[in-house]
């Protein structure tokens, strides 16, 4: 090997060692690229699996689902999950347009989550005051966890899918510190429920 070859080897070793020696400072200055930032929202069945979701529901029976939120936004986030209930004709959130449902929330969950954290809660709900009248089903009351909501919500018989359908859905909102307001985070999950007669 010639002297120039040795010089190149020394230069490479020098560069590597300088970078290693400067790494404590470089680590504090350089911001490493992060992955995609997103939030999770999920609803699971009673066994905390994506199966056995309550579908055919009856008056005065209790049903369990599990609701979860995950934060992968890179920082501490302040979320609100709004719980809403609709019949087949009422507006659902529109993810394509990024708009929430115009329905009033029955209740909410407020959650502070750091990056990488998840929150999960088991929810129990039941219906009472269910009246079937010709082709219409009316639900008077929803018991959701410890709360009792007067609904007086009606739905018509759906001949195509054969059922009286309602939907319990959860919208994820996130606090936007720039505008100091909660904004719909373009995510919602739901449980489709077919109200059936008590035999």
């Amino acid at each position: 090997m010639s002297l120039n070859d040795y010089r190149a080897i020394f230069a490479a070793v020098f560069l590597i060692l300088v970078l290693a020696a400067a790494s404590p400072t470089l680590n504090l200055i350089i911001t490493w690229p992060t992955g995609e930032r997103f939030s999770e929202l999920w609803v699971l069945g009673p066994m905390q699996m994506a199966t056995d979701y309550p579908f055919n529901v009856r008056e005065n029976e209790h049903y369990n689902i599990s609701l979860g939120v995950g934060n992968h936004m890179g920082d501490l986030e302040y979320y609100v999950v709004y719980v809403k209930f609709r019949n087949q004709t009422e507006q659902l959130a529109n993810v394509t347009a990024g708009t929430p449902s115009s329905l009033k929330a029955l209740c909410e969950y407020r959650i502070f989550l750091s990056e990488g954290e998840t929150w999960e809660r088991s929810i129990t709900f039941s219906f009472s005051g269910v009246i079937f009248n010709d082709t219409v089903c009316k639900v008077s009351r929803l018991d959701f966890d410890a709360f009792h909501f007067q609904l007086n919500k009606t739905t018509s018989w759906n001949g195509e899918n054969t059922g009286y359908f309602f939907q319990l859905f959860f919208e994820l909102w996130r606090y936007n510190s720039t505008i100091s307001e909660f904004q719909f985070h373009n995510r919602f999950v739901s449980a489709l429920l077919n109200m059936t007669r008590t035999s």
């Binding site: 002297l3 040795y6 010089r7 020394f10 070793v13 020098f14 060692l17 300088v18 290693a20 020696a21 400067a22 790494s23 404590p24 400072t25 470089l26 680590n27 504090l28 920082d75 501490l76 302040y78 009033k104 929330a105 029955l106 209740c107 909410e108 969950y109 407020r110 959650i111 502070f112 750091s114 709360f147 009792h148 909501f149 007067q150 606090y175 510190s177 100091s180």
Partner: protein, 169 residues
């Protein structure tokens, strides 16, 4: 600034609640009064979120604060649920409990932010010192090594005897 905002909101909150109890014909707060209390606690929670978020960005350990603030947010959620079922006094009770558990949290978050920033600044100074010493040592040893190696290399080359090859016809 946050401290004074919070003080004002707490004062407004209690004035509204007490006036509803003392001056109205019934002890039950109206929906408007309950809504004001709920809005104030909601605004306080938003401000505390910003303070905690700032502390976390500064590198503070916010685990304890988060437990308290999640407890307060649960209470506010209960207050809102009670409000939507028409239980206004229950809603105000829960909102005031949330307000109570948020007491002093913005100051706590500010203290953590300042401490974290000081710690970060100290760490940065140490890192610069460590890097400076490290780079100086690298420069010294690599240069010394190169000079030593080069001398040995040149000496070795000079000691070499030329080989003479006879050209074959």
């Amino acid at each position: 600034m946050h401290y004074y905002h919070r003080k004002i909101s707490v004062v407004v909150l209690f004035v509204v609640f007490l006036s509803s109890c003392v001056f109205s014909s019934s002890a039950e707060p109206s929906d408007v009064e309950a809504q004001v209390v709920l809005d104030n606690v909601g605004a306080l929670l938003n401000r505390i979120y910003l303070a905690i978020s700032e502390a976390e960005t500064a590198g503070a350990n916010i685990a304890k604060l988060k437990v308290n603030v999640n407890h307060a947010s649960d209470l506010l959620a209960i207050a809102n649920a009670r409000f939507s079922t028409g239980n206004f006094s229950g809603a105000v009770d829960s909102a005031l409990q949330a307000n109570e558990s948020l007491k002093g949290m913005d100051q706590e978050a500010s203290k953590l932010t300042i401490a974290a920033r000081e710690e970060r600044s100290r760490r940065f100074q140490w890192a610069i010192l460590e890097s400076s010493i490290g780079v100086s040592l690298v420069v010294f040893f690599v240069l010394t090594g190169w000079i030593y190696f080069k001398r040995r290399y040149v000496k070795r080359v000079l000691k070499m005897k030329p080989e003479v090859h006879r050209d074959e016809p």
